[in-house]
Each structure stands twice: as structure tokens, then as C-alpha cells.
């Protein structure tokens, strides 16, 4: 910021620098609040999918029948998608696409597992709609 402030203060009054500092604090505060809310919701959803998938994988992986093996494969794909999701980088161009992909995969996995309908009340996407 120092360089920016030098450029600006040469052509503007002293008030600019003071205002800039004030605005910076406010921007950080406001941004932080908004970011926290978004991050928490998205993490809640994606972590849910992870816990769900890892549990089912543990429960099915020792079964030898074809149906179980197909399900385990789908679960592993889902887990892979989750692990590659750039949650640590809110500005990543891939975050949106990655999230949508893994949501779709999760829905597919649920129908493969024949997840009972009344359970779906517990699944809320980040958009707030029930799955």
C-alpha cells in the first residue's frame, strides 16, 4: 500500500492518507465477515460429503459383489473430487466448477446407494435448498 499512498498523496490532500487507512480497516473487517460466512457454509457442505463418502467406503470395501464394487468406485471418485477442490483458495477460478461437479457426483452416489428420501432433509446445499 505504501507505493499507492505515495502516488495518491502527491496529488491529493493529507486527508486522503488518513481516509485510506480508515477505509482499509473497514474493508478488511467487512470482507472478513463476508468471507467467513461463505467459507463456513461451503466447508460445511463439502466436509459433509467427505464424511458421508468415507463412511460408506469403509462399510462396503470388503464386500466382493459387483454392486458393492461399483459403489466403492463411485465413492472413491467422489473422494478424489473433494480432495482436489481448492477450498483453500477462495479466488480460484476452479472453485465454482469443482463444487458443482462434486455436488453432482454426490447426488449420483446417493441414488446408487438408494439413500432413503427422508434422510435428504439433512442435506442442504450451500444455496440453502434441500437436496
Amino acid at each position: 500500500h505504501a507505493h499507492l499512498m505515495w502516488v495518491f498523496s502527491r496529488f491529493r490532500g493529507e486527508g486522503f492518507q488518513e481516509g485510506f487507512e480508515r477505509g482499509t480497516r473497514r474493508g478488511l473487517q467487512d470482507g472478513r465477515r463476508h468471507g467467513a460466512s461463505h467459507g463456513a457454509k461451503l466447508s460445511s457442505e463439502i466436509s459433509f460429503y467427505y464424511g458421508f463418502a468415507i463412511t460408506w467406503k469403509c462399510l462396503l470395501q470388503h464386500n466382493t459383489d459387483l454392486k458393492s464394487r461399483k459403489r466403492v468406485k463411485a465413492l472413491e471418485t467422489l473422494l478424489g473430487l473433494i480432495q482436489n477442490c481448492p477450498l483453500d483458495d477462495p479466488q480460484s477460478v476452479n472453485l465454482q466448477e469443482s463444487t458443482e461437479k462434486l455436488r453432482a457426483k454426490f447426488r449420483q452416489v446417493c441414488s446408487m446407494l438408494s439413500v432413503p428420501t427422508d434422510f435428504k432433509d439433512y442435506i442442504k446445499t450451500a444455496e440453502g435448498t434441500s437436496f
Binding site: H1, L4, F8, R12, G13, E14, G15, F16, Q17, E18, G19, F20, E21, R22, G23, T24, R25, R26, G27, L28, Q29, D30, G31, R32, R33, H34, G35, A36, S37, H38, G39, A40, K41, S43, S44, E45, I46, S47, F48, Y49, Y50, G51, F52, A53, I54, T55, W56, C58, L59, H62, D88, P90, Q91, L113, S114, V115, P116, F119, Y122, I123
Partner: protein, 247 residues
């Protein structure tokens, strides 16, 4: 936007930052200006309706000074420059807050599903449904407390007095005084300090303060107990234990 006409007759258009418009101080100032001119008994507006009287000219001149100095522009520029950085920081903090409890919820939900599918003739064990409800409630508390801080950021005491200083107005009754309608605004400001001027705090939710890690640990233990009771694979129990080291 608002327009200020300088004494010399030159007009200057300035953008009122949203934060200033929202500020109660700004409204109070406008209101007190109206009050003072009406009490004075003078005819505020001349026949043409565009002359301001002396008191309001003083107020206006303070504002003009601030605009000329570039203060208002500075605030805007500062906000714009830092908003994304703030967002990124907050995002990572928020992600960390719900990672463990979200994962736990997924685990317990899966166990509940499994019970329904494997033993459709039996109801899902109460230990499982109870646990799922508790985990959901814990998570909701965490998310709610983050949202609450977002929707009603209380003006901190220093925030209000700083606004008044900026506008070079004599400090009227401050927070907690008779005019302060938000009776707990000072208390809230202190209990949830978002002000980055002070030492940047680790993001904590209020519910986390009461139950904190211990609340989640208890839920984790219950989950392990349930898995043991249902004789679920050891590998799954290991995944649950892993959650203890989160955050």
C-alpha cells in the same frame, strides 16, 4: 452522490461512501442541523430557497474540507483495496470453523442411512438419531454465530467516536448514553471484536466459547461409542479419531 457548492460558487460532486450514509452519526448530524436551524427562529431559506444560514455553512465547510483533503476518496480507495484481502482471510477462517463438524455430520448421517438400509425392519437406533440431531445443532450454532456477526456488526465505541472526530463535531452523547437505542451495542462490540486495529483475533464463534473444542470432542466420543456398539469397521473408527486433531 451529494453536491457541495463552495463559497466561490464552484460545485463539487462527491460520492458518499455507503458506510458513511449508513452511519448513524451522519444521520444524527443532519437531524441536529435541522433542529438547530428551526429553533433559532431565523428564516433558514431565503425567498429563492437556496441560501444556507451560518450554522449550516459551518457544517458544510467541515464537510468540504474533508472532501478537498481527499479524506472521503481515501476511505473509498482503502475499502476497495482491502475488501478482497479481508474476504480471503475470513473465508479461510470460516472453512476451518466447520470442517470437523461438517465431516462428523456426514459420518453420522451415513451410519443412519446404513442402519435403515441394512436393517429396514428395525428403526434406526436412538443413539444414532440423537447424535445426528446434536451434531446438526452444534453446526447450526457455529454457522449462526458467524452470520450474526455479519448481519449486525455492532459499531464499536471507538468507531462511533472516530466518525464524530472525522466530521469535527462536538461529541454528543456517546454509546450507552440516552440517545443510544441499542442498549447492548457496547457490550456486543466488546464481546465480538471484529476491529482489526486491535490484535487480530483468531476467529471464534460465541457458541464455540461455551462448548468450544470440548463440545465437539464429546460428540466425537459419542460417535466412536456408537460405531463400536454397532460393530462398524475399525478403519471407520480411525477416521473418526482423526477428527480430534482438526483445527
Amino acid at each position: 452522490y451529494f453536491m457541495i457548492t463552495l463559497l466561490s460558487g464552484v460545485s463539487y460532486v462527491a460520492k458518499t461512501p455507503d458506510s458513511l450514509l449508513r452511519s448513524r452519526v451522519y444521520c444524527k448530524l443532519t437531524m441536529s442541523w435541522f433542529k438547530s436551524v428551526s429553533v433559532s427562529g431565523e428564516d433558514v431559506f431565503d425567498e429563492n430557497g437556496d441560501e444556507l444560514n451560518l450554522q449550516s455553512k459551518e457544517w458544510t465547510s467541515n464537510m468540504k474540507k474533508r472532501i478537498k483533503d481527499g479524506y472521503v476518496e481515501g476511505v473509498d480507495a482503502g475499502e476497495e483495496a482491502s475488501l478482497q484481502a479481508g474476504f480471503n482471510q475470513g473465508f479461510r477462517e470460516g472453512v476451518a470453523q466447520t470442517a470437523a463438524v461438517g465431516r462428523l455430520k456426514g459420518i453420522v448421517s451415513a451410519i443412519s442411512c446404513w442402519c435403515q438400509i441394512e436393517r429396514p425392519e428395525n428403526p434406526v437406533p436412538a443413539s444414532v438419531t440423537d447424535l445426528l440431531q446434536l451434531v446438526t445443532q452444534h453446526e447450526d450454532r457455529v454457522v449462526d454465530s458467524i452470520k450474526r456477526a455479519l448481519e449486525n456488526p455492532p459499531p464499536s465505541v471507538s468507531d462511533v467516536s472516530e466518525s464524530m472526530e472525522d466530521l469535527e463535531v462536538e461529541a454528543g452523547p456517546g454509546c450507552g448514553g440516552e440517545e443510544c437505542k441499542e442498549t447492548d451495542c457496547c457490550q456486543r462490540a466488546e464481546s465480538m471484536d471484529w476491529d482489526t486495529r486491535q490484535k487480530p483475533q483468531k476467529l471464534r464463534s460465541r457458541s464455540a466459547d461455551c462448548s468450544s473444542g470440548s463440545g465437539l470432542s464429546l460428540l466425537l466420543q459419542r460417535c466412536v461409542d456408537v460405531a463400536t456398539e454397532l460393530r462398524l469397521p475399525q478403519e471407520l473408527i480411525a477416521h473418526m479419531q482423526e477428527l480430534k486433531s482438526f483445527q
